[in-house]
């Protein structure tokens, strides 16, 4: 469940030593350990298909999602594990989804790219780059239409900004915003690359925030490796969006420490040095240090968190391993809700 925003000012206005910050650090460490575990299981062949991990970008998921309220909805791309965990999805159910098991958040039918946990506000997990931005804009309209005080959050990558559905979604969001009918927060997860193509090579304008002006949608660039900065912007802008029903954008400048997907081993598009240098700005280390300096968080405290996270991740793997495959009959469920003759099996379903 998304953490309710605390009374008396935002988390950032308060002493950054509020207990919530330790929770956020713990969450980011959990995401890291979970992703490391999922990469290991992929290498072992326990996880199939495409696997895109969030290692290095944790602050972008945690900094925004911890600022949300119950009833807010989140849409994202295929790099979606962190978003589910930040929203409070059961790590066991998330890992089970990656394993394609019945206990997975999407019943094992969606997999890594299609995590859904609607009860917690996660409306997916989409695999066509940019395709989900239109859905998020529509969801924002619906929330206002239903007179709810909630907002829609839409994460997408730098590379998604060049496809038509991005453009159509943002122009419509800008138009609806004029009527106060689009309480949406768009988050550019600018990790510098679309797969192997750098921002300079895929976007005619490299200041991605500036591109939002074409839609009359204000945008802020924040340091995506500093969760305090991300959360600070989130608290401020989300309050405005709830109030005004107008969309806003945050460009979180971040970096992906792992390959684009688990199959991206060679990474000919970037140098080892570049990656190493970027790793010196690890969002977890940055927060951990700040909490150390300002709030006396000790190595021992962090060690405990780490052990807990490692255990949760290991437990999730064990749970996923041991849980059952979907029943063969599941092949035919969830195709449509109703109407007409039920699908007949072409081939015998053992």
């Amino acid at each position: 469940m998304a953490k309710p925003k605390q009374q008396g000012g935002t988390a950032v206005e308060q002493a950054a030593c509020a207990p919530e910050w330790t929770d956020i650090l713990r969450q980011m460490i959990l995401i890291r350990r979970f992703e490391e575990a999922s990469e290991r299981e992929f290498r072992k062949g326990k996880i199939g298909g495409y696997l895109h991990v969030y290692i290095g970008q944790e602050a972008v998921a945690s900094g925004i999602i911890t600022a949300l309220q119950p009833g807010d909805v989140v849409f994202c791309g295929y790099r979606d594990h962190a978003h589910a965990l930040a929203l409070g999805s059961d790590p066991n159910a998330v890992m089970a989804e990656l394993f394609g098991k019945a206990a997975g958040v999407s019943k094992g039918k969606g997999g890594s790219m299609h995590l859904f946990d609607v009860q917690r506000g996660l409306y997916g997990g989409y695999g066509i780059v940019g395709g989900h931005l239109t859905l998020a804009a529509g969801a924002a309209y619906a929330l206002r239409y239903q007179k709810k005080a909630n907002i829609a959050v839409c994460y997408f990558g730098d590379g998604a900004m060049n496809i038509g559905s991005f453009h159509e979604a943002l122009n419509m969001a800008g138009l609806w915003g004029k009527e106060g009918m689009c309480p949406a927060l768009f988050i550019i997860e600018n990790n510098g690359y679309a797969m192997g193509t750098s921002v300079e090579r895929h976007s005619a304008v490299t200041d991605l925030s500036a591109r939002m002006r074409a839609y009359n949608i204000p945008s802020e660039k924040v340091d995506g490796q500093d969760v305090l900065a991300v959360r600070g912007a989130a608290d401020r802008l989300i309050a405005q969006i709830r109030e005004s029903g107008k969309p806003h954008c945050i460009e979180a400048v971040t970096y992906r420490f792992s390959g684009h997907g688990a199959a991206d081993i060679l990474q000919p598009y970037r140098s080892k040095d570049e990656v190493e240098q970027q790793k010196s700005r690890d969002p977890i280390v940055i927060l951990r240090q700040r909490l150390g300096e300002m709030c006396g968080l000790t190595d021992d405290d962090v060690k405990k968190m780490d052990e807990w996270a490692t255990e949760v991740a290991a437990g999730a793997v064990k749970f996923a391993e041991e849980s059952a495959q979907p029943d063969p009959g599941e092949l035919f469920t969830d195709v449509v809700a109703e109407h007409g003759p039920a699908p007949v099996a072409e081939n015998e379903i053992e």
């Binding site: 859904f116 997916g124 066509i128 239109t134 619906a142 929330l143 138009l175 969830d334 449509v336 109407h339």
Partner: protein, 328 residues
Amino acid sequence: MAEKSYRDAIRDAMMEEMDRDPNVLIMGEDIGVYEGTFRITAGMLKKYGPRRVIDTPIAEAGMVGTAVGMAMLGLRPIVEMMTINFSIVAADQILNHAAKVRYFSGGQVDVPVVIRGPHGAGVQLSAQHSQSFESFYAHFPGLHVVAPGTPADAKGLLKTAIRGKDPVVFLESAALYGMKGEVPDDPDFTVPFGVSRVAREGRDVTIVSFSRMMQLSLAVADKLSRDEGIECEVIDLRTLRPLDMQPAYASVQKTHRAIVVQEQWKPFGAGAEIAASITETLFDELDAPVIRVTGEDVPMPYARNLELLATPHEQHIERAVKKVMYRE
């Protein structure tokens, strides 16, 4: 029962459902202030206001995608495509999003989106504006594909679409908008998906069709009955997905002869599925191969004389009927 045009039946269905359920809204290009290029939405903006009758920019993918998002959150958007030709600009949103999100979410969301608009050949609209996409949409599980051929079915099927939980591609025949027919007044009159009907009874040849070609088939059937005593049974499929072939099968078991009539290109068209299903199921019942009457396999030309040659007409249906009767 009242006499209504196919156009008014569609408008009535939408307005009755908007009166009934505040979650129903409609979006599209020039449906509000302009009142619709085919005037299907005339009067709706005035009655329901701009929040429920949304004029959109020219952005079909945006229209469909935002509608899917609205639907996932509990609204029931109707998306009007000015003509169905423009829906392929939104093909990814329809086929990869609307049609699949229920499945890959493990059934966590409903997607009650209706995508409707005129399809088929008009009069000299040329290649980009004269198409029918039933076979390509009906190939995709997760969608419903509807093609009414009468005012009553237009109203009843559209209401089923709007009240449902799934994405529906609702194909209207522009050529039938002006056609009049009896339409039940009951505000809860609906026509279920996946139920084909016998549009005309006959003992000699089964004609399977839908939308405008079904009407053309009826005209041919009457003519053949009058002039030559040939009695055709006409099956109106009404929905292509789900596809109910039972009435067609029952008919062929009686007539032992069938033809299929479809407006557009033959290769990989809707007629192929229908013909293949009949043969697969009733091979031993057939006294003749199932013949397909289709349009010519070319992009639609602009010149009227060529356009008329590109689409099937009564005489082509008539010839096919006689062919399966070995009467030519």
